[in-house]
Assembly symmetry: C2
Homo-oligomer: 242 residues x 2
């Protein structure tokens, strides 16, 4: 394990949930990995690990980064600092370290907290993954963007005033990380007269996926949920294919 | 080939260019396909077909959709109309038809022109793919979005005034399909004082990939090129990892 070279840090997108939506490259790197890190909640299973589970070698060293799932999900920097040091030790010893990232590593991912701590000290390779953005559009069965559409991606935790201003100015809109903000955002969109143009998707690509018009969304949304809105001239939800 | 059931239309994202960035699902469906359609230029090779080439069965029926690569790339609707009818015939006969899509089928893809013509008549399944958006961020080695960043995705062909207004209002920005608009957009960003915050990526994930600060971008950009800009409080291009 101690070598003359430094290991590479791999940030690997494992896609939105369906293990078959991992890339061939992610699958190859995970299958050959000796050290694998991933975010995990303080109770229950790591979602990223669950996606990649079938590819993880049984004898791989696993480094779960246990991040408390508090209501506001403020990133637990101390957890990432500790994990970064443990990972840095393994990289220094010459071992490659694979970090599993839900969706894509650089698209609203917690991988950035490791990246910021390690990228100046070790070689890094990012393997992009299928993001929830396009997985939700696929689940909904409508193009996310076409031709010269402008797409705005909004995190659900933003305040009403900012969401409203952004949505008013936008063409196609995806609101990510809806979760506990669902009732508030639903009320806002109703007030803006956009309910009929909005779709709701949760747990895209998983067996428990739910897809519906926003009006028929459940009362409680998981963290991995998204609202898609089309405001352009080509009404996204109402267009009759021709 | 004539069956009692109707075939399914598969819109399959083959990712940004590296064949290893195809998903396991895309690879499985393409490997088992009997009818495969894909966009192709009027001279040269189909990019989508090139990505998937190693997985395409030698005896598969291929339906190239030859779209003239005119300067304005206005979609040749007659081409898609003709292809849609040929595909509809095969679907009606009970054959599944796989359509190869660069990146993701529903993210600025020409697949929408088939989808709009066929989705009301045949079962459709979309297989999301790795989009150029996250592939370019991976190539550039910087997170595209973090925490509660707002991301604006802009097509390069938009007029200066709209680009300017959108960029001024945005946090993280990705300008897609830069191509022949590069000199104009570069001048606009210089005027806005954003050159130092902008990165340029072309042909992400391919061996001929080019990544540089925008200031060092070549004078001519291919269609598959992107500019990434970070305007938020956490300067994307200048941040020192800590």
């Amino acid at each position: 394990m101690t070598g003359t070279h430094t290991g590479t840090l791999f940030g690997i997108g494992v896609g939105p949930g369906d293990p078959e939506l991992m890339t061939l490259k992610a699958h190859r790197l995970i299958s050959g990995a000796r050290v694998i890190a991933y975010p995990a909640p303080d109770s229950g299973e790591s979602f990223a690990r669950r996606i990649a589970a079938a590819a993880i070698p049984p004898d791989a060293e696993e480094i779960p980064m246990v991040v408390p799932m508090r209501a506001d999900r403020f990133p637990a920097q101390e957890v990432y600092a500790g994990a970064a040091e443990r990972i840095a030790t393994r990289l220094s010893e010459g071992a490659d370290v694979v970090v599993l990232c839900e969706g894509d590593p650089f698209f609203y991912g917690s991988f950035m907290y490791l990246h910021a701590r390690l990228a100046d000290r070790f070689p890094v390779e990012i393997v992009p993954g299928v993001s929830s953005l396009t997985a939700c559009a696929a689940a909904f069965g409508r193009p996310l963007t076409a031709r010269n559409d402008v797409l705005t991606v909004l995190p659900g935790p933003l305040a009403d005033a900012e969401l409203r201003a952004r949505i008013e100015a936008a063409g196609a809109v995806a609101i990510m990380k809806v979760g506990r903000h669902l009732p508030r955002i639903r009320a806002l969109l109703a007030e803006m007269g956009l309910t009929a143009r909005a779709g709701y998707v949760e747990r895209a690509s998983l067996p428990e996926q739910h897809v519906s018009p926003l009006a028929e969304a459940p009362d409680e949304a998981p963290y991995f949920s998204m609202i898609l809105i089309y405001r352009g001239e080509d009404p996204w939800l109402t267009r009759t294919p021709s």
